[in-house]
């Protein structure tokens, strides 16, 4: 009795230690970012960081507003492109396609998530950017290019979570609706989608988190001008790009300002994750 109980305790202790080490890494990263990033924000004032429009670190001008707006614009653009496409794919794969076709198509879509982001960026730079420049004008490196690339990159997340939550809707709902004389599309639109709503929203928010955190592909196609874009054909810089672009030579306050960029990004992503968690628990309760 004691031997087995001892074993059990040992295993429990071991697993707990491993679990805690993961948490402590998170704690250390958080601590480190805030320790490095907040002093400069206090020194120059939060307002000048959040609302300043000029990013000239060598002249001690650290306005992050263009990057905050840039991140939000590009992410919003990605959603405009990714969500309708993703939702349509998910609806087709769950409600309209043959089961055999779904079994082939779903893994193929999930494969999209396995393509490294630098490859997306490279394809964007080689084909999408010249296409935009030749057909719509501007330098090609633009909000539009970044949104299109990101919209495709978030598809797997949006689609697979939407499929899961649509499948979780009990068949009795569909049967009831069809028994009342509704067509398949009416059933989907008025019964299935509302029932799967919060799961779909959670998927969209996770996709949004992916879009706002993506760096490499965005650096390659966005143009990175530290200016609030005047149109979707103008270049744009995101928060993540700001860090990755300038970290190589940054020192002193410039480096601290990049950590401050990280702090703001961290806060935005935390807010998004919290929203995602809240919506998905709400669904589980239903």
């Amino acid at each position: 009795m004691t031997r087995l109980e001892k074993n059990d305790r040992l295993v429990r202790l071991g697993l707990l230690m491993i679990a805690l080490s993961a948490i402590s890494v998170l704690a250390i990263i958080t601590l480190f970012i805030f320790e490095q990033g907040t002093p400069i924000m206090f020194r120059y004032g939060f307002k000048s960081f959040l609302l300043g429009q000029d990013w000239y670190p060598s002249e001690k001008s650290f306005g992050l507003l263009p990057m905050i707006v840039g991140s939000l614009m590009v992410t919003f653009g990605a959603l405009i492109i990714g969500v309708p496409l993703g939702l349509a794919s998910a609806i087709f794969l769950t409600e309209f396609s043959h089961r055999r076709l779904t079994r082939i198509l779903k893994p193929v879509i999930e494969l999209l998530a396995g393509i490294p982001s630098v490859v997306y960026g490279f394809i964007g730079l080689m084909f999408l950017v010249p296409f935009i420049r030749d057909n719509f004008g501007g330098p090609g490196l633009s909000v539009l290019a970044a949104s299109l690339i990101l919209g495709i990159m978030i598809l797997p997340t949006v689609i697979s979570i939407a499929i899961d939550s649509i499948r979780a809707v009990p068949d009795s709902y569909r049967e009831g609706s069809i028994a009342l004389g509704a067509t398949r599309w009416q059933t989907v639109r008025m019964v299935v989608l509302p029932a799967a709503r919060s799961g779909i929203i959670a998927g969209i928010i996770l996709g949004m988190g992916r879009a706002i955190g993506e760096t490499m592909a965005v650096i390659m196609v966005a143009g990175n001008a530290a200016d609030i874009p005047g149109s979707i054909l103008a270049p744009v810089r995101t928060l993540t790009s700001n860090i990755a672009l300038e970290m190589a030579y940054a020192s002193g306050e410039h480096r601290e300002a990049l950590f401050a960029t990280g702090v703001i990004l961290f806060i935005i992503i935390m807010i998004l994750n919290t929203i995602a968690n809240v919506t998905s628990t709400r669904q589980r309760k239903k």
Binding site: L31, W55, I219, E246, Y249
Partner: protein, 299 residues
Amino acid sequence: METEEFKPGSAGAPSAGQENSSSLFHYSRLLVIMILVLMALFPSCRSGRSGHSLVVAGSTSIQPFADKWAEVFMEKRPGEIVDVQGGGSSAGIQAVLTGAAHIGMSSRELKGDEKELYQIEVAHDGLAIIVHPSNPLENITIEQVKSIFLGEITTWETLNGQKKAITVVVREEGSGTRGAFQELVMGKSRITKKAIVQDSNGTVREIVSRDPNAIGFISLGLVNDSVKALALNGVKPTEEAILKKEYKLVRPFLFLTRETPSGLAKEFIDFILSDEIQELVHKEGLIPVRRGSRPEGSR
């Protein structure tokens, strides 16, 4: 009895609960210790270098090159330590004046009192203004370049007659190439916010080579057939023009010492001026120099 052994928390539930809380307390203490140990490790990484070493400090444009030279130097002379630090040209000059560094690095000419220092040119860095090969423009003035990068001239019309918007491409803040351009062309004025920013000479060249309306600047050594380097005030950017000081977008890479270099400092400087390193300098896109010089009028 046997079944009870396999089900922890059935018979002994209350005792297990007690254990849980006490062990949780134990674990949380462990966690705190783990974090403390890890945090203690971080600063020790920073202050890892110490002891007798040659401290070289200054220009962040020279720093990446100097790092490489120091690496090769230390490989050849095991036991010697060359510590290369950044901080900027002015900080490097100050550091050598106060004795905080043995060698200062400056990527700008010395002025005023600074000329007291002993200076050795180790390389030159040239900047080329580049456009797409199809651009009919051949020559540009420094004033025109400045207006373009200020965002005052936004179309090619006054330059080559085409009514196309100019795509301005620059390097990121903090880069030495941008610093050189800022200093040599822009002075105190800011480069336009609308400029596209890339984080390497290679990507600037890539974008200019693909966009017929683009203009950018890169290190002279990295110009190739995919772009066209413009003549500046009528002077083509060639190595000869730079050595004759006719082409203006050039800055020296200077190593500075308080006295005539001696000991390890002299060895390191001689090493950089050796054929081997000067060839490396050339390969990295800089223009090699082989002469050490004492400026006129100094002690």
